[in-house]
């Protein structure tokens, strides 16, 4: 059914879309370039930056030396991986039971879970802040991991639910007829089929947790600050040190950019709660 498209149209389309892609992507290319320049060369005119001298990898080590960058990097890793793991632990059983043993209430429960995601974070900023203060959770990795688990839990459950829903129920009945108990059913029948869905859920959740910038900024100070919060220290006047800001930014976004490229499709499902597939 594919219609023959002349190469000229294709070239024209490529040029138009390529321009759009370049414009959208340019800031990311630009910080990559600047992160390899010396500070005095980074503020020159764009063409001089590109074709001039002054290439160095010094900025990366300076950023680390001045502010213990890797502490914040590992905070980001620990918090996003931790909250994803914790979230899965809670969400997999919940999604499993809703997908395979649905009851009258399943739809209501799902919708209610979704509604918790609609609560604007600023509406509960004060009580969470005070609770954290009283339980000594402010500026701790544990506290932040908990909050990120809870805010992303509805998304994890929804995503897993839509994936589990696609596993045909007949396959379960067949395994039961063959004498599989609940345990065997989960271990040998469901798990292998569910792994792709779980993997994309994990990916999306890590991305969301890594980039979360409301709670991470408001609930951390020096110790547990992940990269989102750490970067705010460049707001002024250090933002004028282009090379260092670029180096810090490149390291902060690179892991997620790579993961994001792998999870484009799943992203749609997760972020629209299955409303668009």
């Amino acid at each position: 059914m594919a219609r023959a498209v002349s190469n000229r149209t294709k070239v024209f389309n490529t040029a138009a879309a390529g321009t759009l892609g370049f414009l959208m992507f340019f800031p990311i290319i630009w910080i990559l370039v600047l992160s390899f320049k010396t500070e005095e060369n980074a503020i020159r005119a764009p063409l001089e930056v590109l074709f001039g001298s002054g290439w160095t990898i010094e900025s990366f080590s300076t950023v680390q030396a001045r502010s213990d960058y890797f502490k914040h990097f590992s905070n980001s890793v620990i918090i996003s991986l931790g909250s994803t793991f914790l979230g899965l632990l809670i969400a997999v059983p919940a999604a499993w039971s809703m997908a395979f043993v649905p009851s009258r209430h399943t739809k209501n429960i799902l919708m209610w879970m979704l509604s918790t995601k609609m609560l604007p974070p600023v509406g509960v900023l004060v009580p969470i802040y005070l609770l954290f203060r009283d339980f000594n959770l402010l500026d701790t990795q544990v506290g932040l991991t908990l909050v990120l688990t809870l805010i992303n839990l509805p998304i994890i459950i929804w995503m897993l639910y839509t994936y589990f829903k696609e596993i045909p129920g007949e396959i379960l009945e067949a395994s039961r007829m063959d004498g599989a108990g609940l345990r065997e059913e989960i271990l040998y029948v469901l798990t292998p089929m569910a792994i792709p869905g779980i993997a994309s859920t994990v990916l999306l959740n890590i991305i969301l947790a890594w980039n979360e910038a409301f709670w991470t900024i408001n609930l951390t100070a020096a110790n547990a600050a992940p990269l989102t919060a750490f970067i705010t220290s460049y707001s002024s006047p250090e933002g004028l040190f282009y090379a260092k800001l670029s180096a810090a930014s490149v390291m902060a976004i690179a892991p997620i950019l790579i993961m994001g490229w792998f999870s484009q499709k799943q992203l749609v499902r997760g972020l629209t709660f299955g409303a668009v597939k």
């Binding site: 219609r3 009851s103 509406g123 005070l130 609770l131 980039n211 282009y242 800001l245 629209t272």
Partner: protein, 290 residues
């Protein structure tokens, strides 16, 4: 098909999630509502007398509240216009046959994965800095006086930055929806003599209507809570020029330590978000065949 045993097992398996979310929603929510009726400032320890509706009264009659509501509307509305229309155009473009489609799509979508604090700082310093920023250089290079983007057009600048981050989201979702469109329908219409515009209006748009609505509603929910971008670029200023509702509540609760006032603002924010949420939930609920 489910047995009695599996039913109770299912109930057991779902309960941690339900209890946690219930706690996460109810406890802070009740506290916010309770605090909003108290005179409660962290800088004045001691009694927290009952305030009635005073906090609400002062929060709403404060001129910065009116500014914040206006700014919130401008920001949300502006970003929605740019991203929905821009995203529709981008999706239509990316759906056409071309070379290197995968690579180009990735480049368009990439900004969505950049954390808000990084994108705000990069745009602010490397592009919108009046002297050394690229936009600044272009403007002066063309012979115009330098523009201080965040001084002269603060809200527009933030709208621009936020749009850069959300345009990929709209594009990605609309593109996904577009690709699920039945190609044969389009070809049939073409054979019947429908030109591109007619095919767009009568086939593509109706097909995309649902995805467009979802894009608008989900973005609204997130855009009402824009915070980090404002914090690192303008701190809500100059004056209250870029203070949105979220930022205003942050200022009264964590900078002025006025728990009562901040909570009153929080309740108002929740009510506003719920108005949008009701429509969104209805859309999603329709699609759910549980």
């Amino acid at each position: 098909m489910a047995t009695k045993a599996s039913r109770s097992a299912a109930r057991l398996m779902i309960s941690p999630a339900v209890l946690l979310l219930l706690g996460w929603m109810l406890v802070p929510l009740c506290m916010t509502v309770y605090f909003s009726f108290l005179y409660y400032n962290l800088l004045q320890p001691g009694a927290t007398p009952w305030a009635g509706w005073d906090n609400y009264y002062w929060f709403i009659t404060d001129p910065s509240f009116t500014d914040a509501i206006k700014n919130t509307l401008y920001l949300v509305g502006g970003v929605l216009c740019i991203t929905t229309i821009g995203g529709l155009c981008a999706a239509l473009l990316l759906d056409k046959p071309m070379f290197g489609q995968g690579l180009i799509r990735i480049m368009v979508i990439a900004p969505f994965f950049v954390m808000p604090t990084v994108s705000a700082l990069v745009w602010k310093n490397m592009f919108m800095n009046p002297v050394n920023g690229i936009f600044g250089r272009i403007v002066t290079g063309l012979g115009f006086p330098p523009i201080d983007f965040f001084g002269q057009y603060p809200l527009a600048s933030i709208t621009f930055i936020v749009s850069w981050m959300w345009l990929p989201f709209a594009t990605l979702i609309l593109l996904t929806a577009l690709q699920s469109l039945d190609q044969e329908q389009l070809e049939a219409a073409e054979m019947d003599g429908a030109n591109w515009w007619n095919r767009f209006v009568f086939i593509m748009l109706p097909h995309l209507a649902r995805a467009i609505t979802v894009v608008i509603l989900i973005q609204t929910i997130f855009l009402l809570s824009v915070f980090a971008e404002i914090l690192v670029t303008t701190n809500g200023g100059p004056g209250t020029a870029t203070t949105n509702l979220t930022y205003l509540i942050y200022v009264s609760s964590l900078l002025q330590f006025d728990v009562g006032m901040g909570s009153a603002g929080g309740v108002i924010a929740i009510i506003l978000a719920n108005i949008v949420a009701i429509f969104l939930m209805r859309m999603i609920g329709k699609n759910l065949d549980a």
